[in-house]
Each structure stands twice: as C-alpha cells, then as structure tokens.
Amino acid sequence: MNISAVRKILLRSLLLLPVVAVTALWAANPDELATLRKSDIAVDTEPQRMPEVENKDVKRTRNYPMQPPTIPHKIDNYTVNLNANKCLSCHDRTLTEQSQAPMVSVTHFMNRDGNFLAQVSPRRYFCNQCHVTQVDAKPLVDNDFQDVDSLLTKPE
C-alpha cells in the first residue's frame, strides 16, 4: 500500500467523523431520541391494551376535501380479495338501496385516463388501501395539523 492510498483512506474516515460523533452522542442520551419506545431496548415491557374500533356508524368530518372518509364501523373479517369484496356488498351502486349505505364515489369508477367504467375500477378495488377504521385511543404522537378553514380565518 503506498502513501497516497493511506492518505485517501484517512481523509475519507475524517469525512465520517461527524456521523460517528452524533451517533455517540445519541447513544449517550437515549432519552432525547424521538421514539415511541419509552423504555430500554433490552427491557420487555407490557404491551398496551388493544383499543376498540369505533362502531358508531356516524360520519366523521374530513380534514381536507380530498381525504378518503374513515370507516365509522367495524370491519372484522370482511373479505376483500380476488373472489369477493364484502365492503361492496353494501357500498356498491346496485346494493345501496337495500343497505342505505353511501355509494362509493364516482371517482372509484374512473380509470387513470379519467374514463368511467361500468364497475369499480381495479385500481380502486382494495378499499383498505385508503379507507381505515378509527380506534378510541390517545394519539401516540402530537399533531399540529390545522384545518384550511381555520388558516383562512386566522388573523394576520
């Protein structure tokens, strides 16, 4: 190994120095890390109780107009796969009269070119990709989201 190669390696390790230093600092003060784990990594903590899924069938406010509405009921064991879609047993266009559930919005019938299909588009078929249930639980992290309306009416 010649001198210039050694110098190269040394210079490169110098570049890594800040990373090493910061890691060392973090390791020294684990409490200052943003983490959901409130205890030492080696300690087995008792898991929190699983909160109940809200099952009130009452629509919730959307935080912005394009937000996929959250599901206001339980969906335990609802099959959504190649063979069957339990959600659509109520929310499909033809089945809403009996169920009185809201129909899936027209955007779900559009393909990516904006053309309407006869049935729910394959790219909108898997409901839980966007729509989720809500549980009655304290948020794990704080959220300072502000509704657009409150921003518009905010005094300068």
Partner: protein, 202 residues
Amino acid sequence: MIKWVKKTWKIAARPSVHYSLGFLTLGGFIAGVIFWGGFNTALEATNSEAFCTGCHEMEDNVFQELKTTIHYTNRSGVRATCPDCHVPHEWTNKIARKMQASKEVWGTIFGTINTREKFLEKRLELAQHEWSRLKANNSLECRNCHDLDYMDFTVQSARAEQAHSTFLASGEKTCIDCHKGIAHHLPDMEGVEGWSASAQQN
C-alpha cells in the same frame, strides 16, 4: 324368490326347539342394547372434529380457515365444531345427512379434492351445496345456537339491529343470505346474490 321367502317365514314362525323363551327374549334384549349402543357410539365418533379433520382435505383447507374466525376463538370460549354447523342435530335429518356423506367417503378414497388446486376448483360447487342446504332448512344449524327470539337488539350495533329486526324477523331473509364466508374463505362470488359484480371484472 317366493320359495325363499316362504322357507324363511316357516323357520321364523316355528316355535324354538332348543332355546328357552327366557333366553330368546332376554338375549334379544341384551343384543339389541349392544347393537344400538354400538351403532350410536360409532355414529357419534364420526360426528367429531377429530374425525372430520382426520382427512387432510379437511385439515389443510377448511379447518385452517375456520381457525381465524370467531366460531373457533372468541372472548367467551364457546366454539362451534364442524358437525355443529354441517350435520343436523335432529335424528332423522342426521341419518339422512350421514347417508349423503357416503359421497364424501367416495371422494376421499378416489382423491376428488386431494390437492389444493382441485379443492379450489371445486370450492364454489361445495359452497353452493352448503348454502342451498342452509337456505332450504332456514339456517337451522345457525339457529341451533343463535335464536332470533332471544337476540337483544339493544346490544347489537345499529346496522346489525336494523337488518335483524327487518329482514330476519320478517322471514324475508335467513342467516346464510347475508352471512356467507363467516367460517371459511369464499369462492369466486360472481353472480351470487348480494355480492358486488365488481370482483369479477378485476
């Protein structure tokens, strides 16, 4: 043939020569108890989950699916085993179903569904047998445990209460009409009433 019947009748009608009346009546009674008891024991043995899952077709497919559902594990620990839903509890219907089940013995001997692929191919047909059976007997096997008369609508969710107090109470629908696929996975639901046609085009 007529000759044989006559001969048998003659033997049966003649009083016994060698055996006493007491031996014949008591012996007949005891033998009857043993045969009937044995028959019933054997019948009940075929009416157990261990017997059903003895075939790999049941063990590897439908039984594994049942394990994830509320009829296998739930908060109170009451559970349904295979015969609770698939064999009528009342004697006459049970025997009729058991005779039908000889087809299933044929199936397992000749391997009608002995691979996952064969099973999936037949799943719709097999499911339809069960759906039409439950439809025809007004979901009797569900109602052996779930009785409409004792349902407390006030502790049901709003949607369940709405559906049960109208469609179910009026007899317009029966359990299986809405509760398909609650214990096993569903086949392709194309064309099945109450299921969206969107699945088939996807």
